[in-house]
């Protein structure tokens, strides 16, 4: 029953363990593949083995004759479903958006394109039956390279996109202005940068389970989605053409996403449509790892030519970038925003660069679709500008740390507009983070040791890499990002609801949701402090469109800064009502009472207080409320952020390279990150660890390759190198704290910072180790062979 509870200890800032973890690490989580329902059927997809071909004929009969096969369909059977939506088309330019249908019709555009579906009693049989389907193809020519796709004579993927061009976009000053600044520069340098294709590889692949209710005409759809509310909207309004309320979407526990689970995929409407065709039998699709690799979205895949101009003392005066961005075979849900808004507009990094021009050409190729992957555009931008800083250092002979210092935006410059269409950076002290990192790493001594080894002719070369990064988080003010601005097809606000129930136990529902980030812990810490309710009395509910208010999902490091702010503002509304009712119960005027540590009391008389639990009970039973007050403590907020947030920091990576074999060893990794104020340092540390691992993996290990026929050569975990624990170094983490003025917590976001920062830190370290030999660039992943080759070629 109702009990007043002593004010809990302060939770914000405490490194408590995640409350989710006992469930997740003891196998008590509920993932898509754990769903079992009576009458459930399984999908086996018939996928094209060819990367580009006309479909001549499909014979389903061999599959249909197998015992246990219930039905089979081709794309022709789903022509009543619209193609998937293109929800973010780049602002201000023409987008030739060609999205996939649930099953390919007439023509396939990548190896793995689904052309038919078999529905069977179990998943083994479904696969055997899918293999029995006979498809005749007429092979067409293939292109896999983003730049070659735009060249004359390249194989054409879609009639709607001449020359395979999805869009051409630019930002910054006129090309002539930047060309002149380059011509006037004391020194110039050029770089050709391939930001290679990566495969996101969440531990759990993707899947959908759909159940149609023939009685009501309603659907329930369980999905591995980072954005279940958005999926409900997109599928209802754009694919099926039914009211949103006819669909309930649920994201159960999700085993990682890294962006690849943001998007609207073919299997979502497909399972729904099949469930309807089969009178409501639940339909399950769950991809295996090979399917995940060929047909779930990939990330990065940019080819860039860069020119930079600088003064003799290392001040960057001009930066010109031309990038070809590979979009894959079709336009994925938000694909256009990644190489434009989130890349081009972040190209300045932490630096004041007066003349910038970025041109982006995005092209279709016969490869898996490319869309947001942890960092989404910002890692590509950070890698480019941080490699540019080292190129300027090499061209001027100035130390890389000094080049960065020369060009930093200064603390007094904030809010700072880089002049290339990004929102103003909120706050920062870039030099402080750099200085701290250099000091902690022992930078001067490292440089001396590097020199000594070179002079002694030692076999193990030392390389020191710096990365001073800034990124954009907490996306985004709806008006800026939306259709009149950057082209995002909706808003990007978040929502929260808080109900303090009769017993004082509290339910927070949020439109935001976790796929590994620990929302249930962080949000409860926040609410506990604000309302003075014990942490254990607060439950965070999420991920079900039926029980939670609308949210745009978890990506862009926005859950705390946007979703958390919605919660924060809701606690303020609860406190307002608690004070009103508390004052009434104390027979005092509202102006005379204070709320502190979960108690309302008349100023100066804290002993005669009413606890929030007592007040919640009074609000719920509603026997004696002030005139006009509604019962129950139940408040909701919809929050649209006024700006994004801009975390930053400096990472230092030290590598040893065997100059005989090209083998690399990371011997030190030190990060100074500024993510603003921190709610749970343990969770932020975990995010940074995982992020750094993912970023250094791009620098050293990961790369997705297609052969000229469009076959994925790195189609399994035994070819595609996700690093294991033994392949990543110890991380020394430190921080500076520059609160964001954008939200009341002063938080900036930490989900992607590590990934964005670490790729250039490691890449710069490798090149730094061999630069004395004349090497000025190595493409990623910087494998031993590539390093060995670079050393040989320079010699």
């Amino acid at each position: 029953m109702v009990a007043s509870v002593d004010a809990p200890e302060k939770m914000v800032g405490k490194a408590i363990k995640r409350r989710e973890d006992p469930r997740l690490i003891t196998g008590a989580g509920q993932f898509i593949d754990d769903l079992r329902m009576p009458g459930m059927l399984h999908i086996g997809l018939v996928r094209s083995p060819l990367a580009h071909a006309k479909i001549k004929s499909i014979d389903l009969s061999p599959a249909l004759s197998m015992p246990g096969v219930v039905a089979a369909f081709t794309g022709e059977d789903f022509l009543d479903l619209n193609p998937l939506p293109a929800a973010w088309q780049a602002g201000g330019v023409t987008n030739h958006a060609v999205t996939p249908r649930v099953l390919a019709v007439n023509e396939v555009h990548l190896a793995g394109d689904p052309v038919a579906v078999v529905i069977a009693e179990d998943q083994y049989l479904a696969r055997d039956a899918a293999e029995a389907v006979i498809v005749e193809y007429e092979e067409l020519p293939v292109v896999v390279d983003a730049k070659k796709a735009a060249e004359a004579g390249a194989p054409q993927l879609h009639e709607e996109a001449p020359n395979n061009i999805v869009l051409e976009w630019s930002c910054g000053k006129d090309a002539e202005v930047v060309d002149k600044a380059l011509a006037d520069a004391d020194v110039t340098a050029g770089l050709h940068i391939i930001n290679q294709r990566l495969i996101p590889t969440p531990m759990e692949p993707r899947g959908s389970v759909a159940r149609y209710d023939p009685g009501t005409g309603d659907y329930t759809l369980w999905i591995t989605s980072q954005a279940p509310h958005v999926m409900r909207l997109l599928i209802a309004a754009f694919v099926l053409g039914i009211p949103e309320q006819k669909i309930r979407t649920i994201s159960p526990d999700i085993g990682g996403g890294f962006g690849a689970k943001i998007f609207c995929y073919y299997d979502m409407p497909l399972t729904m449509a099949i469930s309807k065709k089969l009178d409501g039998r639940p339909i399950k699709f769950f991809e295996d790892r090979v399917e995940n690799y060929v047909s779930t979205t990939h990330g990065r895949d940019h080819i860039s030519d860069v020119e930079v101009g600088a003064t003799n003392d290392g001040k960057i005066t001009a930066l010109k970038v031309k990038t070809w961005a590979n979009i894959g075979a079709y336009f994925s849900t938000i694909a256009a925003g990644i190489p434009t808004t989130l890349y081009g507009r972040m190209i300045a990094g932490c630096y004041k660069i007066p003349n910038i021009r970025v041109d982006v050409t995005a092209t279709y190729t016969n490869t898996a679709m490319v869309d947001a992957y942890r960092g989404a555009g910002r890692p590509e931008a950070a890698y480019l500008i941080e490699r540019v800083c080292d190129a300027v250092a090499a061209a001027t002979g100035i130390d890389p740390a000094e080049v960065r210092r020369q060009n930093f935006i200064q603390p007094e410059d904030f809010p700072y507009d880089t002049g290339i269409g990004m929102l103003p950076y909120d706050s920062g002290d870039y030099e402080r983070a750099l200085d701290k990192a250099l000091d902690l790493a022992g930078y001067t001594d490292l440089r001396a040791e590097q020199k000594r080894r070179i002079e002694a002719g030692e076999q193990k070369l030392l390389g020191i890499g710096l990365s001073s990064y800034v990124e954009v988080c907490g996306v985004a003010p709806s008006k800026w990002i939306g259709l009149g601005g950057e082209g995002w097809g909706a808003g990007l606000w978040e929502s929260a609801n808080i109900r303090v129930q009769l017993t004082g136990k509290t339910v927070v529902t949020t439109g935001s949701l976790p796929h590994g980030q620990g929302h249930e812990t962080t949000f409860a810490q926040l609410v506990s402090d604000k309302l003075g309710i014990p942490y254990d009395d607060i439950q965070i509910k999420h991920s079900d469109s039926l029980g939670t208010p609308f949210g745009f999902g978890s990506y862009g490091s926005r859950s705390l800064t946007v979703g958390g702010t919605a919660i924060y503002k809701t606690t303020d509304k609860v406190i307002d009502k608690v004070k009103k009712l508390g004052a009434h119960m104390l027979e005092a005027s509202e102006a005379d009472v204070e709320f502190e540590h979960g108690k309302v009391f008349v100023k100066g008389s804290p002993d005669a207080a009413k606890s929030i639990q007592e007040i919640a009970a009074a609000a719920h039973v509603a026997y004696d409320l002030p005139e006009g007050m509604e019962p129950f403590l139940d408040e909701t907020t919809y929050y649209d952020p006024p700006n994004c947030t801009f975390p930053f920091g400096t990472h230092v990576c030290v590598v040893e390279i065997d100059n005989d074999s090209g083998e690399v060893d990371i011997v030190k990794y030190l990060a100074v990150d500024d993510v603003g104020n921190v709610i749970n340092p343990l969770i932020v540390g975990g995010q940074l660890h995982g992020g750094i691992a993912q970023g250094l993996a791009q620098a050293l290990y990961e790369g997705a390759y297609y052969d000229d026929d469009g076959q994925l050569l790195t189609g399994s975990l035994s070819d595609y190198a996700i690093p294991k624990a033994s392949q990543v170094p110890w991380y020394d983490l430190d921080s500076t704290v520059t609160p964001s003025p954008v939200n009341p917590m002063g938080a900036k976001g930490a989900g992607e910072a590590g990934t964005i920062a670490s790729t250039p830190a490691v890449g710069n370290a490798v090149v730094d180790a061999v630069k004395h030999l004349g090497v000025n660039n190595i493409q990623m992943p910087m494998t031993p062979e590539r390093i060995w080759t670079a050393i040989n070629e320079a010699r």
């Binding site: 290990y701 790369g703 070819d719 595609y720 190198a721 690093p723 031993p784 060995w788």
Partner: protein
């Protein structure tokens, strides 16, 4: 990652297993399953019948009298944990580098020899230790030197109905100078290149040297020119460098993939041979 439908049988004796294999050309032996099952899940292999030899008595265990006789079903983990293989420290060290703990707990030495993966670790080690396997089939039991066992990509000289019952290491290189070094693939952990060396000395000169190379060639092979360059010489840095320079000469056409070209593999063979010999020599 769902295999095609298959029959599963679990014979209780080697003879019963041989009988099934002899009468069923579409059958495959399942030992630890850490090569066969992934291949089946990728649908690269689709045997009609899987013959699980895991419950046959007497196929696991290590007998160290006069060299070492290791039962075919002995797991990598059992080899790592064994106190009977002190004469062959390279075997223990190499086995620690096979896969990961779950692979080592299931994968077997006999399976490794019979599968003859081009990037396996122990194939090179057994070549360097001059080992043999005992194989049993319809025609009876025979001993096959590993020199004669590995004949092609994933191919051995065993007949379809033959099962390896043990791997036998002679006393030739007991307590010899030996080492296994490996450049592991960052994804699979398999050897991009692995080099196993075993060297005996007499009167301060190399009496006998064997070098097994895996990962680079079509199947594990010996670097015979490098072996010859060691024989009769003092095992010093100069000799090692001269021998290592020849290590890629006898391997035939080398493997190449997106991670490492044939040229780089050849280079790694020389680099790792030098490392292995230097380590074995204690220099």
């Amino acid at each position: 990652m769902y295999p095609q439908q298959f029959e599963y049988v679990r014979p209780s004796s080697v003879d019963e297993a041989i009988g099934i294999l002899a009468s069923n050309p579409d059958a495959k032996v399942l030992a630890g399953g850490h090569s066969l099952i992934p291949a089946m899940k990728l649908r690269l292999a689709a045997p009609g019948t899987v013959v699980d030899i895991g419950k046959i008595d007497g196929l696991a265990g290590i007998d160290s009298r006069g060299g070492a006789k290791i039962g075919a079903m002995t797991t990598y983990a059992a080899i790592v944990d064994s106190d009977k293989l002190g004469d062959f420290p390279m075997l223990t060290e190499a086995t620690k580098q096979v896969g990961d703990p779950s692979v080592r707990n299931r994968g077997t030495i006999g399976g490794s020899m019979a599968h003859n993966d081009p990037a396996a670790d122990l194939t090179a080690v057994m070549l360097a230790l001059n080992a043999s396997v005992t194989a049993k089939g319809k025609g009876g039991e025979r001993e096959v030197a590993v020199d004669d066992l590995f004949v092609g990509l994933l191919t051995t000289s065993l007949a379809e109905d033959e099962i390896i019952t043990s791997v036998n290491i002679p006393n030739d290189f007991a307590n010899a100078k030996q080492a296994y070094v490996k450049h592991a693939h960052p994804a699979s952990g398999y050897a991009v290149v692995g080099v196993a060396v075993a060297v005996t000395e007499k009167d301060g000169k190399v009496e006998s040297a064997r070098i097994g190379v895996t990962g680079a060639p079509e199947h594990a092979k010996r670097a015979t020119s490098a072996e010859a360059a060691l024989t009769g010489k003092t095992l010093d840095a100069e000799t090692i460098a001269a021998a290592a320079a020849l290590a890629a000469d006898d391997l035939g056409e080398l493997n190449g993939d997106v991670y490492a070209s044939p040229e780089y593999r050849a280079h790694l063979v020389r680099v790792l041979t030098k490392r292995a010999l230097t380590q074995a020599a204690g220099l």
